[in-house]
């Protein structure tokens, strides 16, 4: 009997301590719920560039806390280096580019080396190597049942100025390790994806007397003229099923926003203002749009019903909010926070809702422009310029993870992904 008392006494002391430790662990995991993962390179020719892409993918996913060390190992082995046993997962990979690109990945449990996933990928070219890595990380993320990150595998399309009066439209992966010019010659601007699958894109051509919107199939090269306009013409947004466009047009020399129906070729004027109305983006299940207007005497973000005259100011902050993007009821906008005609102005990004509530800053230093939501709204892409040059930045809104990739290209005109 005394022994039982002694046992209960020990348990009563031990169990609360264990649960107290658990509570502490739980709090820490609430702060950072990412799982620890180490990358082990089993390639015959090991590359820091390949490691960096894997690491970036894992980091920006918001689901993994990747070990920064570039470990080397055997792709076929299940042996776990004792130093890595504290990692929840080990991602073994082997990449070969002797002919095309072949990638093999294996996901092991860090604790015992048991295999959770294995897959091989191959493409006939070397230049799209980053997409293989993005696909592999997206697949591993799916296997572990985390929220979808297939945006990693999407193209970024962007226009850059080549020389005065000339531009090029290029494709890239999100890290800009892959880049390809798909439209060169002349002045071609404002590329915008035409469909979720990224089979085609819209762009504005200045080849004729008037700006003309074209649709280009990026795989077949088939090109279709959509509409022309006096003054300016931009495809600002495409609705979810790809049947309607929000266009900035200027048939009377005034930049206004129109909804263009692709099946009928008809256009409906959504704004009619004697100043500047541009940058229409669908919100609230496509019943409304947010847009940039100078109707208060400076550039700011407003919301308007597509079908009625109801218009409201969305942003109540800043004096020059001249670009925005939207996803669902989320809005991101860039705000010029100085007014220097000699350049060097600070631009910062802010996140708000279409209802005008909950504005919060996303950046605090440098020049941050061209904000674009990923197609699932989880990530924001932007261009950052600072004393150290230009970078393409990404902000994961859920995890607050951010990444910057050097952008050593020409001056960017517009971007979409």
């Amino acid at each position: 009997m005394p022994n039982i008392f002694k046992m209960l006494l020990v348990l009563s002391l031990l169990v609360p301590r264990l649960f107290a430790a658990d509570a502490k662990l739980k709090i820490e995991k609430d702060v950072d719920q990412r799982v620890r993962i180490a990358l082990v390179d089993g390639s015959a020719s090991q590359s820091s560039k390949v490691f960096d892409i894997f690491y970036s993918d894992l980091k920006i996913s918001g689901h993994f806390l990747a070990d920064t060390a570039h470990h080397k190992g055997d792709i076929a082995s299940n042996f776990i280096n004792p130093a890595l046993k504290s990692q929840e997962y080990i991602l073994l990979y082997s990449l070969n580019q002797q002919s095309g690109t072949q990638l093999k990945v294996r996901l092991l449990k860090g604790s015992d080396g048991s295999q959770l996933f294995e897959k091989s990928y191959a493409i006939p070219t070397a230049d799209k190597m980053p997409f293989l890595i993005h696909k592999a990380v997206s697949d591993i993320n799916d296997v572990l049942q985390y929220p979808d990150i297939s945006w990693l595998t999407r193209y970024v399309v962007y226009a850059v100025y080549a020389t005065p009066g000339k531009s090029e439209i290029r494709l890239a992966d999100y890290t800009f390790n892959y880049k390809k010019t798909i439209i060169r010659g002349g002045l071609n601007l404002f590329p915008k994806w035409a469909d979720k699958e990224q089979r085609a894109l819209y762009y504005t051509s200045y080849k004729g007397v008037l700006p003309t919107l074209y649709k280009l199939d990026i795989h077949t090269g088939a090109k279709q003229s959509i509409v022309s306009s006096d003054g300016m013409l931009v495809c600002s947004d495409v609705n979810n099923n790809g049947t309607k466009l929000l266009l900035t047009m200027a048939p009377d020399g005034q930049a206004d926003i129109f909804e263009y129906d692709l099946s009928s070729g008809s256009k409906k004027r959504v704004t009619d203002f004697q100043g500047i109305d541009v940058n229409g983006k669908y919100v609230d299940n496509e019943g409304s749009m947010v847009f940039v207007s100078n109707r208060l005497g400076y550039a700011n973000v407003f919301k308007k019903s597509i079908h009625s005259s109801s218009t409201s100011q969305v942003v109540h902050h800043g004096r020059n909010n001249n670009a925005c993007d939207a996803h669902g009821n989320k809005i991101v906008y860039s705000s010029r926070e100085s007014n220097n005609a000699s350049g060097g102005n600070a631009f910062n990004l802010y996140l708000a809702s279409s209802g005008g509530l909950d504005t919060r800053p996303l950046t605090t230093t440098g020049t941050n422009q061209f904000p674009r939501f990923s197609y699932d709204g989880a990530i924001i892409l932007y261009l950052k310029q600072s004393g150290r040059g230009s970078s393409i930045g990404y902000i994961n809104l859920a995890s607050q993870q951010s990444l910057l990739f050097p952008f050593n290209d020409r001056k960017i005109q517009s971007i979409d992904w």
Binding site: D22, V143, P164, K207
Partner: protein
């Protein structure tokens, strides 16, 4: 016996505490398949050089056909008094022109995206309205904004930026 119970209880407690690690449970090994088909699809590369008009015409950096460019202040689209002489010339040339007049709005490099193109358009529109008010037929004029795409000067100086905030005029050929 008691010692064994204590050890068992401690081990059980430790195991319970380990349950707080909420790593997702997954199925066993995935299939070893090749899957790159959705990545390998090739994309085109097209050349849009040529065409009768547009910023690639070679005349992007100044007015032509006797017209004179009109310059604007930072962020402005009002014609200032010191541009009236240029506008008088443009009225004279425009009134006698037999071809259409293309009025091109341009901006410095500091604006972004669509708003800068709309600002260039406002500049072109104010020049068109002024010409129309002084007798040039509106039906003879077409407007195009080139935003910041066609600078005549690329040096990072104030005088350079001043030269880029302009409206160029030329005849459509």
């Amino acid at each position: 016996m008691t010692q064994k119970l204590l050890i068992a209880a401690a081990v059980l407690s430790l195991l319970l505490s380990g349950c707080a690690q909420n790593a997702p449970e997954v199925e066993g090994s995935g299939s070893n398949i090749t899957d790159g088909s959705d990545i390998g699809g090739d994309t085109v590369s097209i050349d849009e050089s040529g065409g009768a008009n547009g910023g690639s015409s070679g005349n992007y950096n100044s007015s032509s056909d006797g017209f004179r460019s009109v310059y604007f202040g930072f962020g402005d689209y009002g014609i200032s008094s010191d541009m009236q002489s240029n506008m008088s010339t443009n009225v004279r040339v425009g009134s006698s022109a037999s071809a259409k007049i293309k009025i091109e709005g341009n901006c410095d490099e500091f604006g972004t995206d669509e708003y800068n193109y709309a600002l260039g358009l406002k500049r072109a529109k104010v020049v068109k309205d002024s010409l129309a008010a002084q007798g040039v037929s509106p039906s003879k004029m077409v407007l195009v904004s080139f935003g910041e795409s066609s600078p005549v000067c690329t040096e990072p100086t104030d005088s350079c930026y001043d030269r880029n905030r302009r409206v160029d005029l030329r005849l459509v050929r």
